[in-house]
């Protein structure tokens, strides 16, 4: 079985990935909710019958889900082990964040695939539904201190039993959402995707036989494991420590630490998070499974050559303290989980940068900036504009960081200004790159952005963001980027939130503006070694100020707008002017 010929293996790899890709595409097209349709907040794959390990993933699924899905399948396996009764044509549904989930909006559907009367593997689908109750529309409550204020928790239950849909469950879910129609549409999209995946896998099983497919699963995992072990071995043994902070939990204004001690020992790696903060009161906790999923995302971004299946996690062990910020249990609130996993991905990048400078990547901007602006139109109808915003990626060995990118956990695109203005009574006055926001370095970070808008008819504003107190870090001598900032206009000038980047219940009259300034990415390498011509180019483009060129890069720009070579040489060599 293990000696599957390499040609068949290569063919099956493509065929299986295509099945998962096709499941992704089916859901994007048939979903009603734009978070899935446009932002692709969904994922599909094939999972191991006994362990739930990820065997095959689509290439377009949301990165964070790629890591999290195995835990979802394991939650179903545990349920079946407890209660029994697994039958062909069953399908399970749940959103429990503490048992294999992420946050309440993410609904998982898990279906057993049988072959000759025996469980052969699992297929699963996850998608972000628009609203599942709780105190705030969209179930993204920045003030939640318990999961019950975030929405309705559905444990692992059987939605379809031997092909028969249990409509009672759908009615319960529908009764607990502000947008039952949207959820119903998404559920159908996910079922479509599972039906299609099952059909395609069935055809492949017919063509190649179950034994060959099973052998290929094993071979793919072994291959991923071998590639991961070889990547780990290429780094010197030792313990590499890195820590970063979250501004606050939105309830108490205290920083929270995410600390990692990463130990390389031969071809294994340990990720020890035990020095991290205890569980938070506000909604920035994450469960153990989400922590592992986030590490997987970070490692996949660093070791891009390692394929996306469970094999790559085999050489890696975790130490996550139960009931902590990174190992939260029910009912600790988790809606803002994205901010914490972004910090987690950052500390993995930071620790790897020490272990292997060739792979060193400075911190991405590191906050999703969930901004909600809502109000009522003149005709009385309610409007809610909800979006995430971009920033810069970190400098790295091959290039400067990318300007205005999405976060590493996502591949979502941002809606155009014109679509937002057509839909909501707002007028953007600025949608631009933010000068001096990138971390300086030999390869500087990418630039963050400035988004400024006028409320044409007034409205209520809420923001859940981060990086207001500790900027995205640089690596190998690179400088940190700029902080995240948020302002609103009042009669007495501009104001900023007391909790840095978190605020709710902010009511503004018509004609007032709000402005969000996002961080760039951190810098890579000592900025004094950056080619002065490149610094000058950034100055000429208006992205780096003359002052920053001098202060951070040691490049003096003369009044003629060109480099003062002598002054630059003196400054860079430490000669006093």
């Amino acid at each position: 079985m293990s000696s599957l010929d390499p040609v068949t293996l290569a063919i099956l790899k493509g065929r299986l990935e295509q099945i998962a890709d096709e499941m992704d595409a089916t859901l994007y097209r048939s979903a009603f909710n734009p978070t899935i349709a446009e932002a692709k907040d969904a994922c599909h794959g094939i999972y191991h019958a006994e362990t739930g390990d990820t065997l095959v993933q689509g290439t377009s699924g949301l990165p964070i889900f790629v890591g999290a899905m195995a835990f979802a399948v394991r939650a179903v396996i545990a349920k079946v082990a407890r209660d029994g009764g697994l039958k062909e044509k069953d399908t399970f549904i749940f959103n429990d964040p503490y048992e294999g989930g992420t946050h309440l909006n993410d609904f998982r559907l898990v279906r057993p695939i049988f072959r000759d009367g025996k469980l052969f593997c699992w297929m699963a689908s996850v998608g972000h539904w628009l609203d599942i109750g709780g105190n705030v529309a969209g179930s993204y409550n920045p003030k939640a201190v318990e999961s019950f204020q975030e929405g309705v928790r559905i444990p692992v239950v059987k939605l379809i039993s031997e092909g028969q849909m249990n409509n009672d469950i759908i009615e319960i879910i529908s009764a607990n959402s502000r947008v039952p129609m949207s959820n119903w549409g998404d559920l159908n999209g996910q079922l479509n995707a599972l039906d299609l995946g099952e059909k395609r896998l069935g055809a492949l099983l017919e063509e190649y036989g179950a034994q060959t497919i099973e052998a290929s699963f094993e071979a793919f995992s072994n291959r991923a494991e071998a590639l991961m072990r070889s990547a780990i071995s290429s780094m010197p043994d030792g313990t590499y420590s890195f820590e970063d902070v979250l501004d606050n939990d939105g309830i108490t204004d205290e920083m929270l630490t995410v600390a990692l001690d990463l130990t390389i020992s031969g071809d294994t790696m340990e990720l020890d998070f035990s020095r991290s903060t205890q569980a938070a009161q506000g909604p920035i906790n994450i469960s153990r499974s989400t922590t592992i999923a986030a590490c997987y995302v970070a490692l996949k971004h660093i070791f891009t050559e390692v394929p996306a299946n469970a094999g790559c996690l085999r050489p890696i062990s975790f130490n996550i303290v139960d009931n902590s910020l990174l190992g939260a249990n029910a009912p600790k609130p988790v809606a803002g989980y994205t901010e914490t996993i972004l910090r987690l991905i950052g500390v993995v990048l930071g620790a790897i940068a020490q272990a292997d400078p060739d792979r060193a990547t400075a911190a991405p901007f590191g906050t999703i900036n969930a901004l909600s602006v809502a109000g009522h139109r003149q005709n009385g109808s309610r409007w809610v504009m909800f979006s995430f915003f971009g920033g810069g990626l970190g400098g790295n060995p091959v290039s400067d960081g990318l300007n205005h990118a999405n976060n590493p956990i996502s591949t979502a695109t941002i809606p155009p200004v014109e679509i937002l203005e057509a839909a909501y009574p707002v007028m953007f006055t600025q949608w631009a790159l933010r000068p001096d926001s990138a971390g300086a370095g030999v390869h500087r970070g990418g630039f963050g952005a400035v988004y400024e808008l006028e409320l044409l008819g007034g409205g209520d504003v809420a923001l859940l963001g981060e990086r207001g107190k500790q900027a995205p870090f640089g690596v190998l001598g690179g400088e940190p980027a700029a902080l995240n900032r948020f302002f609103w206009q009042t009669e007495d000038g501009e104001k900023s939130p007391p909790m840095a980047s978190k605020i709710t219940d902010l009511r503004l009259p018509a004609g007032k503006r709000i402005r969000l300034e996002t961080p760039g990415g951190g810098g890579w390498g000592d900025p004094h070694r950056r080619d002065p011509e490149k610094v000058l180019h950034d100055v000429k483009l208006g992205l780096v100020s003359v002052a920053q060129a001098k202060a951070l890069y040691g490049v003096v720009i003369g009044t003629d707008g060109e480099i003062d070579m002598q002054a630059t040489g003196n400054l860079r060599n430490g000669v006093a002017a």
Binding site: P6, V7, A449
Partner: protein
């Protein structure tokens, strides 16, 4: 509408220029192939035309060009200046906040217009078209003068929400033109009056970026033609598969981005439909890539936009082409995890495969086909090389694939072909099965040089009905130039609710759009039977972001349209139901865009002109036998001169059909027949 005449299709490729001459009155055709001359395409162009006699005597020339594509891919367009709304100069660089790859955080992006060439002026229009601030024309003039002084050769003007009210853009264009030194000034509403500022900016800017390049290229060709006293019409194929005048091409060069491949797809569609295969998947196997397109019910699938490279988006209807990095030059190697991979790295056409003897030592797909005996090493396609080095190819496969995998060299060569076949099959599956089409109803139509080598495997791997190899695969694109209809597409964002719609205003708008589009088509002055006008609406339920494309059965006649609210609602519900099965009664419906296409239908081209001879026999077409490797062993395989095979004959596999520009491989379990149009149809044995 115009008289029949003589027309030549010219497809300028990287290596060869292919030409197809057709006498419309007499139904006669001829083909020609001459070397291309990169950088001075006019030389090959004229040489090729002269092969048909005096250029002076030709009535029209239709050209499929890659000059725009190459300029985009190699970033060799013009210096462009951009004037935009205050606060929005970075839209082009900020994109839609995407990243290059799902996995991996490295790499940056440099826009084709850097920040110092992007200037802001005070002006603002709101989303509903309300004028918030009139444009400061003095500031526009000053910005244009500054950009000109900095060396900009083309000027693009893009204002936020201009799709809803183009007044400020129009004023700005007038102001800029007064101080600009050439014709290359355009605003976004002249190029793409559609909502979404990034896509509109990118399209407008890339159009400006190509304008001087395409303009000077066309100028050179026109001058060369003038020198030969050519007095006919000279046209260009667009990415949508239709033909446009050179005047339109100069104004809208972004529409030439897929000119070359689109012509091939149009010809493949016409050939296949005549042969009784309205559903086909075309496959163009080149040196570095395999391009796939789908034709359902005789119509090529059109994509609304294409991404040329990361961050370079052109939004205009284009033949939808899926490209994968698997071509004849794709390199086979065993990766760190022990898996055999073919491509995406490619040896291209220079140095090319190992067997070309031009310095490459890593095995390619072509090398594997040569070692397996599928390609005739003594008579390479294209006629540039005298013979291919089989031993060198074998050695490379031995070293880089066979040894690392513990296989024999023949098994390794077969493995390379199988992996490549499976990647091509994957690309076809993406276009067909994934879109809900049943592959058993589709035939593969390979064109270009290499595709016919792989047709048997593609039929088997994807479960296709058959494959159809056109009589002259190498000149398919040139033939497409001759038979393509004249076409002009327009879009206008409306953003109006269906409930309470002012249907009179919509009807008037449709008449205006139709008149504009028809005028462009009429101006082409090629012979055409009639002009059809098609209307489509992009519509959705309010709250959705994606739209469904709704074909409107409306007609415009005598300055009036028969459109009604009921017609629109019915058409929307039909289209929505086809895509999503359930309607959402009670949810308001919005019309986002009106799309108008005018199509000048060309006189039908009788493809029987391409038919095979009737005075030959299968045995007279047989050139010999050789050993060819299939399914793990050598097979005695008959070799045929494809062009000599008589109409109606049938051949059993294994067989190799050779012709100057292609090789068709018929595997042991397949058979081939020659149809009434000279095509070879490959099917499973009964």
């Amino acid at each position: 509408m115009s008289n029949l005449g003589t027309i030549v299709g010219v497809d300028v490729g990287g290596t060869f220029t292919d030409l197809f001459y057709f006498d419309e009155a007499q139904g006669r055709f001829r083909t020609n192939k001459v070397p291309s001359n990169r950088g001075d395409e006019a030389v090959g162009f004229l040489d090729g035309l002269k092969g048909f006699g005096e250029i002076e005597g030709l009535d029209s020339i239709v050209h499929g060009t890659t000059v725009g594509t190459n300029a985009l891919l190699e970033r060799k367009g013009a210096k462009v200046g951009l004037i935009t709304t205050e606060g929005f100069r970075d839209v082009l660089e900020m994109r839609r906040r995407d990243r290059r790859h799902t996995w991996g955080l490295w790499g940056d992006f440099v826009p084709v217009v850097e920040r110092d060439f992007r200037m802001e002026v005070a002006e603002r229009t709101l989303a509903d078209g309300t004028m918030r601030a009139e444009v400061d024309v003095a500031a526009v003039r000053a910005a244009a003068e500054k950009l000109r002084a900095m060396g900009a050769e083309a000027l693009a003007i893009v204002f936020v929400n201009a799709f809803a009210n183009p007044q400020n853009e129009e004023k700005a264009v007038a102001a800029a033109r007064a101080v600009w030194h050439n014709e290359n000034v355009a605003c976004s509403t002249q190029i793409l009056p559609e909502i979404r500022e990034f896509e509109r900016t990118s399209t407008t800017v890339l159009n400006a970026y190509l304008q001087p390049v395409v303009g000077s290229y066309l100028g050179k060709l026109e001058k060369a033609l003038e020198g030969e006293n050519f007095a006919g019409r000279f046209h260009i194929v667009q990415s949508n598969g239709g033909v446009m005048s050179t005047e339109t091409a100069r104004r809208l060069p972004a529409r030439t981005a897929l000119s070359g491949p689109a012509a091939g797809v149009i010809a493949a569609a016409a050939i296949a439909e005549a042969a009784g295969f309205p559903n086909v998947i075309t496959g163009d196997l080149g040196g570095t890539s395999f391009d796939v397109s789908l034709i359902a019910d005789g119509k090529a699938a059109l994509a609304a936009q294409t991404t040329i490279d990361f961050g370079l988006v052109i939004r205009t209807p284009m033949i939808e082409i899926t490209t994968i990095g698997a071509g004849g030059g794709s390199i086979a190697h065993v990766d760190a995890g022990g898996l055999l991979q073919v491509g995406p790295e490619s040896a291209g056409s220079r140095p090319g495969p190992v067997c070309y003897g031009q310095g490459n030592t890593r095995p390619t797909l072509t090398d594997a086909n040569v070692v397996l005996g599928r390609i005739n090493a003594d008579r390479p396609i294209g006629g540039k090389l005298a013979r291919l080095d089989v031993e060198a190819a074998k050695k490379a496969i031995e070293e880089h694939v066979a040894k690392p995998l513990g296989l024999g060299v023949m098994e390794a060569a077969e493995a390379i072909v199988r992996i490549a076949d499976s990647r091509m099959a994957g690309a076809i599956r993406l276009m067909s099965i994934e879109r809900g089409h049943d592959p058993q109803k589709f035939a593969a139509v390979p064109f270009g040089g290499g595709g016919a080598l792989h047709v048997s495997a593609l039929i088997k791997d994807v479960g296709l009905k058959a494959a159809l190899v056109p009589r002259y695969p190498g000149v398919t694109s040139a033939l497409g130039c001759v038979i393509a209809d004249i076409r002009h597409d327009q879009v206008q964002t409306l953003n109006i609710f269906l409930d309470g719609i002012d249907i009179e205003a919509v009807g008037t708008r449709m008449v205006e759009e139709a008149d504009k589009a028809r005028a462009v088509v009429e101006d082409a002055r090629l012979s055409m039977e009639r002009i059809d006008t098609l209307f489509e609406l992009d519509m959705h339920y309010v709250g959705q972001t994606h739209t469904v494309r709704v074909t409107l059965p409306a007609r415009v006649e005598g300055g009036k349209s028969d459109v009604s609210a009921e017609m629109i609602r019915n058409a929307f519900e039909t289209a929505y139901q086809a895509s999503f099965s359930r309607l959402l009664p009670g949810v308001p419906v919005r019309i986002v865009n009106l799309r108008t296409s005018a199509i000048g239908i060309r006189p039908s081209f009788d493809l029987k002109a391409l038919s095979a001879p009737t005075d030959t026999t299968v045995s007279s077409a047989t050139t010999g036998t050789r050993q060819v490797w299939f399914d793990g062993g050598w097979h005695d395989t008959t070799i045929y001169a494809r062009l000599e095979l008589p109409e109606g004959c049938e051949i059993q596999g294994p067989a190799i059909l050779e012709q100057p520009d292609a090789t068709t491989v018929v595997s042991p379990e397949f058979r081939a027949r020659v149809d009434l149009y000279g095509n070879v149809i490959v099917e499973r044995k009964a």
